[in-house]
Symmetry: C2
């Protein structure tokens, strides 16, 4: 499809939590913007928060060749910096809107692209609605990005595939590590995801001929029952010495209490009077140690889940780039108030198409793992999930190794 | 050098904590053993502990081609399983020795190879001494393995380079992640190393044109002072918004108390009466939050430090293999009671030779980071450390990717 024509300048920003793929979408917007004939592609530093302070840079001064564009695609986190800024309702407080539109006008902006998750899409919704209300011709387009994979309409979100690949590879290596000693032991891997279990479900992807996969996987989509859990672990330990389970940080009891909040709070006040938030994994490890008296360890996969570019998924990095391009093409066709979405055309061979979709049906929604994809007894995910998720982790983006380490585009300081 | 000739069978075992390189040494012993003409290369399951139960397997039945040998080199943890078994002094209790030597005799063992760290080298010392005392002809050779890099005589230990590469890459990605928000924040990365700071020092390797590196690095080789630390962080926060520091889990005050033990213990008893061991990172994050009131987070790099084969160092995997080979060659020359050591011949180009060295000068020693390599003010490591450590993380061992993930040799169950 022809890229279309953009007259004037465009601006792009990043918002919300870092991922391994968000810079690839930035590269996609930049490249497509240039191809569509935009005079300048501006980057806003620290999202809308920076834009309100007039912090704009001309990206052509930073990205001077295709080699740098490739490096940008391999750089984790957010090259332009990020923010967590919530726009007010414009009907109640139009001031920031007037200010933003003034800045956009001064810079001759024809289209505005915002790469982010749920909150960022809400910003696009508000900006496009305000734009319509003042008859602005500026197009506002969202580019999806979140490791949580919880955006509606799009088949999946850029950022999820790379996070899933790292989680599955790390889980496989940890399972391998847990097998070395000839004694009963339980390893609990705690994985990101407060409300949606997509990231934790990715641990199931390591099950293969050379790996049994996690013995149990607990997602926030289902209520967690401590008694059933303990009975289950006990039974597993009769069968095998090394038991490995994966839990979402957001697992909760039927009454809604998060497992990570179950500890007696008074016991977790530190010497400064702060509550130490013990994770779900640490809580369950202590529970098992007390009730079953076996060797336990809790491992948090931590920040690398979202920023491990050194093991990024080629599918993901490519799709993130294409989602950026799709956004620019939509703007060139005069569309506003929409988000780029990935539409799966077929599973085998895996093929996707890129479209845009009305932002109102996406913002403020949350897509969860279908209950029918979670196996009875929590001992894994069904083949429907594997069929869905496997293509998303396929392929590798070779880092450019310099001095033994992956090279990055350094942030704009 | 010619590999030499071994008459009879050999046996090899793995002991202590898993690493990304220990299976490469196993591959080296196997390959060299076959080349030296050993009839059978036995693997002991779960080290000496399994050997005492007669748990031996013929490795030729498991490793059937060079492709599998390559896969073994790319598999983390310990293919044969491990143990933490301490042999008694044979003068006080000869029973396990008599039992072991009986088993070795029954299997026609001419040479015994043990891949491990400090404790494992002590086992080799004891076995070779007992062997001499009973005029046994069996050769006992140690193959070094530890992510801690704390073995004497050898320039460095197999396992360290891959751990250092993962730590440096992860630190770089976390630094990138920490830069996205436009507000003061402190990230504390806690890295393995109770007494020796080699692993934490590796975080310094990410400092390059595209990365400022950690702002401070605290090793257990130096006493830690909370007041100086707080003053230092405060000063840093005047200069820059995102501050990232790396701390060894084993940092301690001048009076010897570990920082991870400083919290008021009563506050960390969980609801089951267990003491929750808060790490040094979590303690310091809470300290900074209280004293400087800024956003802090503590990240433990956890188990992946030792088992992230997906980002192994080619230097390390190659040297681990060659150390195994050097051990076999020494046994073939009639040597016993020695450990394979890596001798650095030159820095530039980086070149190493392989020798063996009297185990008595290695077992029960601990090599630490020279104080002269730690910069005044703890703001990094000197160029001497970088010159030492850089070659150890160079090069990549491409994983064999199957279904989007690194393939492994599955453990013998």
């Amino acid at each position: 499809m022809h890229i279309g024509k953009i007259t004037g300048n465009i601006v792009v920003g990043q918002s919300g939590g870092p991922t391994a793929a968000i810079n690839s979408s930035l590269a996609g917007v930049y490249k497509a913007g240039k191809e569509a004939g935009a005079d300048k592609v501006y980057g806003m530093l620290n999202g809308i928060q920076g834009l309100l302070k007039g912090k704009l840079i001309d990206l052509s001064e930073k990205i001077t060749c295709d080699l740098e564009l490739e490096l940008l695609k391999r750089t984790p986190a957010a090259y332009l910096g990020s923010c967590r800024y919530k726009l007010p309702d414009y009907e109640k407080d139009a001031a920031p809107y007037e200010q933003l539109f003034q800045i956009l006008k001064e810079h001759g902006i024809a289209a505005f692209f915002y790469i982010g998750g749920n909150d960022s899409m809400d910003s696009i919704r508000k900006l496009s609605e305000y734009g319509e209300s003042v008859n602005s011709s500026i197009k506002f387009i969202g580019i999806p990005k979140t490791v949580d994979n919880d955006l509606e309409i799009t088949d999946h979100t850029p950022g999820y595939g790379s996070a899933a690949k790292f989680i599955a590879a790390a889980t496989k290596e940890i399972i391998r590590d847990s097998l070395v000693y000839d004694q009963n032991n339980l390893t609990i891997i705690e994985i990101m995801g407060r409300h949606a279990g997509w990231l934790t479900a990715a641990a199931a992807l390591c099950k293969d001929k050379d790996c049994q996969g996690p013995d149990r996987i607990y997602l926030p989509e289902k209520d967690f029952d401590r008694d059933v859990f303990l009975k289950d672990i006990k039974a597993l330990q009769q069968e095998k010495k090394s038991v490995v389970i994966a839990v979402s940080e957001g697992i909760h009891l039927a009454d809604g209490r998060f497992v990570c909040e179950l500890s007696d709070k008074d016991s977790y006040i530190d010497e400064f009077g702060h509550t130490m938030l013990t994770g779900a994994g640490a809580y369950l490890a202590a529970l098992v140690k007390k009730e079953l008296n076996c060797k336990t360890r809790a491992i948090e996969l931590n920040t690398l889940q979202r920023c491990a570019s050194h093991l990024a998924s080629l599918s993901d990095i490519t799709e993130a780039f294409e989602a950026g391009r799709a956004g620019v093409m939509a703007a060139a066709r005069g569309i506003t108030g929409e988000m780029a979405v990935i539409k799966r055309v077929s599973d085998s061979p895996y093929q996707c198409a890129y479209e845009t979709h009305n932002i109102k049906q996406i913002a403020n929604m949350e897509k969860k793992v279908p209950l029918s994809w979670i196996k009875e007894g929590d001992d894994g995910l069904t083949k429907e999930f594997i069929r869905y998720a496997r293509p998303l982790i396929m392929g590798e983006v070779m880092p450019v190794m310099v001095n033994g380490l992956p090279a990055h585009m350094d942030n704009i300081q």
